[in-house]
């Protein structure tokens, strides 16, 4: 016959202090690994979630990001009527020519960071359809106005609506705030492309084009045609691939996080094992009594093991909640976490624990519960009733 | 050696107030072998603890070896115990991770003796109790009786005048019990030690000089034991 689960959790309650210790250890490990994992995941989410599956990024051949590419007006004229590019209701091709520049911005706490300023034309809002003006309005062309991403507004000096934002060679009036579901556009500032080219003294007006592919069109064929054009050295990448490549600098950190999680997990397993062994030792006479009463070895093994797993799962719950709250607190305290991506620009990341971030810590907790309790539970099960009772 | 006057001891056990000793007075002369006997809960262990400086009475006076124990602080009592009293308990006497001779040496760590001197004294004590060759053995390698003998060796290694033992034969079989009691009597006879034991083993009566009966915290009677008769007879 099996031991009731209530024996398990009642025993846990009875050994108050000891259970608290084990729960604390496992919860802390969960918090530590979750926080670190979420840091990287938040970064990846910001970068990778950027971009639309229906867009292409056109840059000069060999450029890895649109900040280091320069394109001519001729190339824009040449490709804008290519087959496969989507059109708006009036038949205008949905191709957004853009100029990317990375000037210094002053942060609220006195630091200095590179921020991506994107010179665009109004068609940009149609091509980047996940971007919307959440507050205020889009800038008027040639008016020295700017719209800033949500992340920019909270991190940099004079970046709220109505403020005079200083960057480049001049001052820009902030007239709107843009949002994009948390993607990297929220770390950007959008201004009129021509004005930006002037300010940055760019001889070539654009750094890249973003192209909306028509529904049902063959995206790869279009990309190939753009790349193969002999007049210009261009290349076209899917926008989502483009951003995914940019996020590769975070991969190093992933390695570290996983490595740290493994280390921390092993440490926690040792800690949990310690506690379970002590529990077994302390309850020797109890076990003897149970065995004498007729509970099988398997029943004892299962009972102790489930105790260990229950502790670990409870600890996971505590840790997950703690990590979730801590992430929000840290993010608020630091004004967002800045990460310099491969483009030398700053992405403002909101540190958040998403449900999917908890998968790894959950698995870790289960492993800790199982491996931490296995050996002690086996020892408990193997005890002979008569030895156990005598020791009491 | 021991003068106890009008001592009472009350303590809390959970919600209950236990009156362990009620106005007990006792005198033990130097060099006597005395047994405190009585049923369970009679207060005999408490009395032993009081005269050994392990417990403070709530009322009354305790004078041992000329010292007023009431006046001593915790640390002073510890020092008193280290120099004046040797202890033998029923269980847990020996530290399981130390060998027999190391266990015997333990009280000497409190003195200023050198390592070599400590070892020598310990070996001497072991010889007295007849376990000279078992010095390097761990407690788990010794029988119950042998463990008690090692405990006795430890009790005499500092040359303390008073040896107290709480149920020294409680866990032993008949033969071992007789050996321990005989050993204790030897300590009294050959080394002049004052020995107070607590026991409910009736066999002890024939080894001791005096039997003191307690019940419910009161001292009932004192009568001579077999040991005295033996002495008188020899």
């Amino acid at each position: 016959m099996a031991l009731p689960l209530s024996y398990g959790w009642r025993s846990l309650l009875a050994r108050g202090m000891r259970t608290v210790f084990t729960v604390a250890v496992i919860a802390l490990v969960v918090i530590a690994t979750t926080l670190f994992w979420s840091l990287i995941a938040s970064l990846k989410r910001t970068l990778v979630s950027s971009g639309s599956a229906e867009n292409l990024v056109v840059m000069r051949k060999g450029a890895t990001n649109d900040g280091s590419s320069q394109l001519t007006l001729e190339s824009l004229q040449a490709i804008r009527f290519f087959e496969g590019i989507a059109r708006d209701s009036e038949g205008n091709p949905l191709i957004s020519p853009e100029l990317v520049v990375q000037p210094f911005f002053a942060t609220a706490d006195g630091g200095r960071e590179n921020v991506l300023v994107r010179g665009v034309e109004p068609v940009a809002l149609l091509v980047h359809d996940e971007v919307s003006i959440a507050e205020g309005r889009l800038f008027n062309t040639s008016s020295g106005e700017a719209v800033v991403g949500r992340g920019v507004a909270q991190r940099y000096k004079d970046a709220s609506i109505g403020s005079e934002l200083k960057f480049g060679r001049g001052t820009w009036t902030v007239v709107g705030i843009l949002e994009s579901d948390g993607s990297s556009f929220e770390s950007e500032v959008w201004v009129d492309a021509r004005q930006l080219a002037n300010d940055a003294k760019r001889t070539l007006p654009y750094s890249g084009f973003r192209v909306r592919v028509a529904k049902g069109a063959d995206m790869d064929a279009l990309a190939r045609r753009i790349a193969d054009d002999p007049r210009f050295a261009l290349e076209a990448t899917r926008e989502i691939d483009y951003y995914e490549n940019l996020s590769s600098s975070a991969n190093t950190l992933y390695v570290i996080v996983v490595g740290l999680a493994v280390l921390a997990g092993i440490g926690a397993i040792f800690g949990a094992t310690n506690t379970m062994y002590a529990a077994v030792q302390a309850r020797t006479s109890e076990i003897g009594t149970l065995r004498a009463l007729g509970f099988s070895r398997a029943a004892i093994l299962f009972s102790f093991l489930s105790e260990s797993v229950m502790t670990a799962l409870f600890a996971f719950g505590v840790g997950a909640l703690g990590a979730w709250a801590l992430a929000i607190f840290i993010s608020w305290l630091l004004g967002g976490i800045a990460f310099g991506a491969a483009t030398f620009t700053t992405n403002v990341i909101q540190l958040r624990v998403a449900p999917v971030d908890l998968l790894m810590p959950f698995a870790l907790s289960v492993l800790i519960g199982v491996f931490g309790g296995l050996a002690p539970a086996a020892r408990a099960a193997r005890m002979r009733p008569v030895d156990a009772l005598r020791k009491a | 050696m021991i003068d106890i006057t009008n001592v009472s001891r009350v303590y809390q056990r959970g919600a209950d107030e236990i009156h362990a000793l009620e106005h007990v007075s006792l005198h033990v002369s130097k060099g006597r072998f005395v047994a405190l006997m009585g049923p369970s809960g009679s207060g005999k262990s408490t009395l032993l603890n009081v005269l050994a400086g392990l417990d403070r009475p709530n009322a009354g006076e305790v004078v041992v070896g000329g010292r007023r124990l009431n006046e001593l602080s915790e640390d002073q009592l510890a020092e008193f115990r280290a120099h004046t009293v040797g202890f033998v308990f029923q269980f847990f006497n020996l530290i399981p991770v130390l060998s027999a001779v190391e266990n015997v040496e333990l009280p000497l760590l409190l003195t200023k003796l050198s390592r070599a001197e400590r070892r020598q004294r310990a070996e001497t004590a072991l010889r007295i109790v007849g376990l000279a060759e078992r010095g390097d053995h761990l407690p788990r390698q010794l029988s119950g009786g042998e463990q008690q003998r090692v405990a006795i060796a430890r009790a005499i290694v500092t040359d303390a005048d008073l040896v107290v033992a709480d149920e020294p034969t409680g866990d032993l079989d008949a033969r071992n019990a007789e050996e321990i009691l005989s050993l204790l009597q030897t300590l009294k006879r050959d080394f002049g030690k004052t020995i107070v034991i607590v026991t409910h083993d009736p066999r002890a009566e024939k080894w001791v000089d005096e039997v003191i009966h307690l019940d419910k915290g009161l001292l009932l009677e004192t009568r001579p034991g077999g040991g005295l008769r033996d002495v008188a007879a020899s």
């Binding site: 210790f21 200095r112 921390a264 801590l326 630091l334 | 262990s45 269980f91």
Partner: protein
């Protein structure tokens, strides 16, 4: 000290438990060491350039905004400027799919050695750097990472200019953390001329000033000189420049420190649990020790010493493990220039010492209460309960 054998023996009482506790402490210390390498790498880099007389000058609007190359001559002419060179970002990658793995710049070779005197580059290397058009000076970390040595020819594909250039490595920057790659500006200029578009701008100018007290005034002088010019400049000390450069990493570093702190807390719990368990088991024994005359203080110190010794030994093991693991990390991961000093993964002596001290402290903190409790228990009470 005469109690030491006694203390050590007690650790051997329950070998499994001591081993498990020590292992978890060791692992956690290893973790803390590894985590600490990240901010420590940053701190060490910043402090190594803390007090020098180098000044950077860049376009006030941002580093990616260009300045006229002619500015270099004007800066050189200022009295008090010992030497000045320009840096032009090349953005070269060995393998385009992996991106730019180390910072690389086109610089002026003649004065390079004088501006960076404190880098201790071999005179012969500097000479070759001046002599050969395609010469390159490479930081030791990058050499080791890519398995390059002096004499090798390497090719970099620029991600900012449409060109690919081959270089001959003539010398190293001896600092084990240095990742930079420098080559001749003239080489870049010629490549530009060959492709038909000349280049007459530069990204940054670095100058060395003769006297620390003159640094402030000269910086102001430079910026004044170019105010209202084609490009307004902002000059700052090298330390300020890199401080700003890496300031965006502050957030990540903060999270790392927090995680390290949490891990430490974890260990304290584990160690405290063990200490209290092991003390609780011995309650009868401890009572007897006190009975035979051991004062509370001695009981307390021997129990505390047990926890401290176990913890410190575990800390040593953990520190050793961290040395091995960081070696692996250095070989397995690549650091982009923007993460730079953060991913050097070098466990310094300071970190080791801090870790050992931490381990010792953990022993003390975790063992304190159990030891105190055990030493203070009423002996008579314990004897009553146990027997």
């Amino acid at each position: 000290m005469k109690y030491l054998p006694f203390v050590l023996r007690n650790l051997g009482r329950n070998k499994l438990r001591s081993l498990l506790t020590a292992s978890s402490i060791a692992l956690a210390i290893a973790l803390v060491c590894i985590l600490r390498t990240m901010p420590a790498g940053l701190d060490s880099f910043l402090s190594s350039i803390a007090s020098n007389t180098r000044v950077s000058t860049h376009n006030e609007a941002g580093m990616v905004y260009a300045m006229p190359y002619a500015y270099l001559q004007k800066v050189r002419a200022i009295p008090g400027v010992v030497a000045a060179i320009s840096w032009q970002w090349f953005g070269g990658a060995v393998d385009l799919s992996k991106g730019v793995a180390f910072p690389n710049f086109a610089v002026d070779p003649e004065d390079f050695g004088r501006v960076y005197e404190d880098w201790n580059i071999a005179p012969q290397a500097l000479e070759d750097f001046r002599k050969y058009r395609d010469a390159a000076l490479v930081g030791r970390a990058t050499l080791e990472k890519n398995g390059w040595k002096v004499g090798d020819v390497v090719t970099l594909q620029s991600t900012v200019f449409p060109m690919q250039l081959s270089f001959r490595i003539v010398g190293e920057v001896p600092n084990p953390r240095a990742t930079q790659f420098y080559f001749q500006r003239e080489y870049l200029v010629q490549a530009f001329q060959a492709s038909g578009t000349p280049i007459d701008s530069t990204g940054m100018i670095w100058s060395r000033i003769d006297d620390p007290d003159r640094v402030e005034p000269i910086m102001r002088q430079i910026d004044e000189m170019f105010r209202n010019g084609e490009a307004e400049t902002a000059s700052e000390t090298e330390k300020s420049f890199f401080g700003n450069f890496f300031s965006s990493l502050k957030g990540i570093v903060a999270v790392i420190q927090i995680v390290a702190g949490i891990v430490t807390l974890c260990i304290v719990f584990i160690a405290a649990n063990t200490a209290s368990m092991s003390v609780r088991e011995r309650v009868g024994e401890i009572a007897i020790l006190r009975a035979i005359g051991f004062r509370r203080k001695i009981v307390f110190s021997t129990l505390l010493a047990e926890a401290a010794i176990l913890s410190t030994l575990a800390g040593v093991a953990g520190a050793l493990v961290s040395l091995g693991l960081t070696l692996m990390l250095r070989n397995l991961t690549s650091s982009g220039p923007q993460l730079g000093p953060l991913t050097g993964f070098i466990v310094t002596d300071t970190i080791l010492v801090q870790a050992l001290f931490l381990a010792f402290l953990i022993g003390i903190v975790s063992g304190w209460l159990p030891a105190l409790g055990a030493s203070r228990r009423s002996v008579a009470q314990t004897l009553r309960e146990v027997f």
